[in-house]
């Protein structure tokens, strides 16, 4: 047809492979997901998949992160508490629940065994999100809405950490009410107010 027919077919094939990876992981669980299974269902050769994704972990990372990347941009309404609440609730809704939640949990699990997946998860998702969070916190700090002493890199970790702890370790449900409780504690601090 046109000159770009072949690149566009390749892009369609990539999308089909990523979609199928997610479908299969949801059907059989991450442990039983295989590149062979994805190849069979997509109708492409497994070597085609291995040429682009060196491992099941790398393929799965791409499949889980590709659709969600645009979803977590940081609001700036001028009210840092409202913006944190909105952004963290959006993250919980997207990553802490089905359909994406169990896939994201499996991805973080794989990152514990596969340093390349851990590095790619950080590069593609965690670090860009952290940079946005720190930039938003810095504006709020400059406007006097956050303590001038607040260590912004640590602030990023104390905002994210409790949610990940609940999601990965205690595996209790995440809710907006829980986000509220965490924010209340982080904003007020643990020390008694004089």
């Amino acid at each position: 047809m046109s000159d770009d027919a072949s690149p566009s077919r390749a892009a369609d094939r990539t999308q089909a492979i990523l979609r199928t990876t997610v479908e299969l992981a949801q059907e059989v669980g991450y442990a039983k997901l295989s590149i062979e299974g994805v190849a069979a269902r997509t109708g492409v050769g497994k070597h085609t998949i291995y040429r682009r994704w060196p491992s099941k972990g790398a393929l799965f990372l791409d499949a889980v992160l590709t659709p969600s990347e645009p979803g977590l941009d940081y609001p700036d309404t001028g009210d840092i508490v409202a913006d944190l609440r909105r952004q963290i609730c959006a993250a919980v809704d997207l990553l802490g629940r089905p359909p994406l939640g169990p896939l994201y949990r499996a991805l973080v699990g794989e990152a514990q065994h596969n340093p390349a997946v851990a590095a790619a998860l950080n590069e593609r998702f965690i670090r860009p999100q952290a940079d946005k969070t720190v930039a938003r916190l810095r504006r709020a700090q400059q406007q006097g809405q956050l303590s001038a002493d607040l260590d912004l890199d640590v602030a990023m970790d104390i905002l994210s950490g409790p949610l990940y702890f609940r999601f990965l370790i205690t595996q209790e449900p995440l809710s907006h009410e829980y986000v509220e409780r965490v924010l209340d504690a982080l904003l007020a601090g643990m020390r008694p107010t004089p």
Copy 2:
């Protein structure tokens, strides 16, 4: 020899299986660890292992947690900040670094794919530690060292979460200096002091 020779041999065999599981995991990594490999090196039948541990994950959990359980008792010197610092630094030294660190990371990774391992990790390690933390925080709150408004269950999560976030997600090194930065931020709170 004596009547208790057989239970004592069984206990020795259990210890040998757990020790070998840790050794093999350190040599080949969790992904390549297998009950068959542990059976071969320990010189016991694999069915003997499967009778007690229903999966590789269950065996690995037992092998990682058994030696460390006594290590994280909570000090109570009467100074909550000093005690938190000491306890969290001890946890970081034990779980956040070799030799146990990589094994603990693999265990948490497995918990993301295996709900029975996640439940056992909570029951044997996370919940007892959390109960001790909340009890220590409650005494400090009663003594006026922590804010009367502090939500103690959330306090547990905000104390643990940032460390787990760094350990599991960004995978940057954990240090006592980092523990200090986290404690400073949590104690002071994010809001500007008037």
